[in-house]
């Protein structure tokens, strides 16, 4: 059993945070992780920065650009994380784009993640068909959970295919948008959350994109198993730094 599955089995209304590795400062990766755990966050997505993040809005893009400028690389991230399991026990997911993984070597990447104690991946531009044909076996061999996205436009048929291929949770993108681009949820979102809940999928669902305060967190977790906050957390880090984490988490839950 993977830490992700454990956590989802024992806890509801999960709070998960996305942050970009090496942001705001190159050496902030580990302190941010430790602070998130200390403040009661349930799970973390560690963003591996990429030059061309297609699915991200301006906030996460800018944090990635800064992290790359700071000198962040895949090799350095693994180096920073090598002792992370001595201090951090919550589930850790690497979220990034597929090209840096491909250049590192997919199998080497998986091996390294297993050594470190990474629990899974969110790779938005690795599509279902490619995953199943080329990578599923490898990811599973190294005990890594792969997380797929669905959106309000994803057909029921495809959601079922994605559910069958998933072994951790399903990442529900709250609306048709890149990250960080909306405020508040309307009826369309709650209908969508309810529709997915009624599908009785095998995998739990966690909502992301557009969660930025306690209202959106509550609205999302009313129907689902948890929510992921990205851009709002990055914005907070940009202005307040690591010291702001405690207040930020308290303001959400």
């Amino acid at each position: 059993m993977n830490r992700i599955n454990d956590k989802l089995n024992t806890k509801s209304k999960l709070l998960s945070i996305y942050f970009t590795a090496g942001y705001p400062n190159l050496e902030d990766t580990v302190p941010v992780l430790e602070s998130l755990q200390a403040n009661g966050v349930d799970m973390v997505e560690i963003g591996l920065p990429f030059s061309d993040p297609l699915a991200d809005g301006p906030t996460i893009q800018a944090s990635g650009t800064q992290a790359l400028k700071n000198g962040m690389t895949t090799t350095l991230l693994f180096e920073q994380l090598k002792d992370i399991r001595k201090t951090v026990s919550i589930p850790l997911i690497i979220m990034g784009y597929f090209n840096p993984v491909l250049q590192y070597g997919v199998e080497n990447f998986c091996k390294k993640c297993q050594e470190i104690g990474i629990d899974g991946f969110i790779l938005p531009d690795l599509p279902l068909a490619e995953y199943q044909e080329h990578y599923q076996e490898m990811f599973e061999k190294y005990g890594l959970v792969n997380v797929f996205l669905i959106t309000p436009q994803t057909s029921d048929e495809r959601i079922k295919q994605i559910d069958d291929a998933s072994n951790g949770f399903i990442y529900m993108v709250s609306s048709a948008s890149v990250t960080g681009s909306q405020s508040g949820f309307g009826n369309a979102q709650t209908d969508y959350f309810a529709r997915i809940k009624n599908m009785n999928l095998n995998n739990p669902q966690i909502v992301g994109f557009g969660i930025n305060n306690s209202e959106t967190f509550d609205a999302a977790t009313k129907y689902t198993n948890g929510a992921i906050i990205g851009s709002a957390f990055i914005k907070m880090l940009t202005t307040k730094g690591i010291d702001g984490i405690s207040d930020f988490v308290k303001s959400i839950r």
């Binding site: 990429f50 030059s51 061309d52 993040p53 297609l54 699915a55 809005g57 301006p58 893009q61 650009t65 790359l68 690389t73 895949t74 090799t75 784009y97 597929f98 090209n99 840096p100 993984v101 491909l102 250049q103 590192y104 938005p124 531009d125 690795l126 599509p127 490619e130 797929f148 996205l149 669905i150 959106t151 436009q153 994803t154 057909s155 495809r158 993108v173 048709a176 948008s177 890149v178 681009s181």
Partner: protein, 393 residues
Amino acid sequence: MNYNVNEKGYYGEFGGAYIPEMLYPNVEELRQQYLKVMASDEFQAEFQDLLKEYVGRPTPLYFAKRMSEKYNTKIYLKREDLCHTGAHKVNNTIGQILMAQRLGKKRIIAETGAGQHGVATATVCALMGLECIVYMGEIDIARQAPNVARMKMLGATVVPALSGSRTLKDATNEAIRDWINNPTDTHYIIGSVVGPHPYPDMVARFQSVISEEIKTQLQEKEGRENPDFVVACVGGGSNAAGAYYHYLDQPDVGIIAVEAAGKGIHTGESAATSALGKTGIIHGSKTLLMQTDDGQITEPYSISAGLDYPGVGPMHAHLFTSGRGEFISITDDDAMNAGLALCKLEGIIPAIESSHALAIFETRTFKPDDVVVVNLSGRGDKDLNNYIEYFNL
């Protein structure tokens, strides 16, 4: 070997659709519909009519007599520069606007580098009365002012791409983000044989009219459909894909692809993707691209904005790695001189992109009875400022 796309959307190991799930419904709809739509009589009738009456096709296959004498071989120029809007780009935008209408889309988005594809898109949107938004890197907006003005006159909204390096690759990122944010009413008209499947194949099919015409025209002029060589410049690779299309499986036709070496392949200021790229993923396609060891996409350089792209279409990546295509890179200087030479020899001012293809006669020899077709992808009007500056005219 098959050099065209297979049923999974790959050219050899290149291609596919590496897209976030948010784009899946749109790209999948297109994948399921494009061949059916393109095969319908009704679509073909409108497409062919517009190519003839609006674009001005067929474009001539012109025997360049003085140039042929100079290089002691038989050189034909496929005059895509005579297309309405000044380049081959419009063949694709006509096709895609008709496709967008069949798919019921009301809003058109596009990316552009030099502005040629943006102008061609704004043109067909005006023709059809559809809303048009063109993303263009902030830096390109500054260096391609006349094309920005053209797009505005044609009724398009030009949105500056402010992220990353603020050039073509970032404009493409912004167009993709727009499509994610507008998933139901919008069609994205990609400007080259790049992006997720089915785009490379769809764009290649719309551009394939180029080699279709070359076959008939060469039959008339030389008594054979096949030249010995067909030469084209490659940015993303759409004019090249169109010029090669009907010759891909004809082994007697040599395929020559010309990339921009910029200031030289090893200067760090180059766009010669086949020489400098490695397999990776850019804009939804697995292909050759210029990147760091860490998989970050790097910024290319070429004097020609249309060739200033860090990847190539998956068809060309496959032509390169399979050895079917001969890839040559040409520096800024050699391209500019070849452009000026064509003006003086034949009275034709070429686009700087096309000048790269023309420059190969200085670096590669052909036999006297070889028939060499060069795709003259565009005219030089848009590049006058560059020519003026470069030659102190």
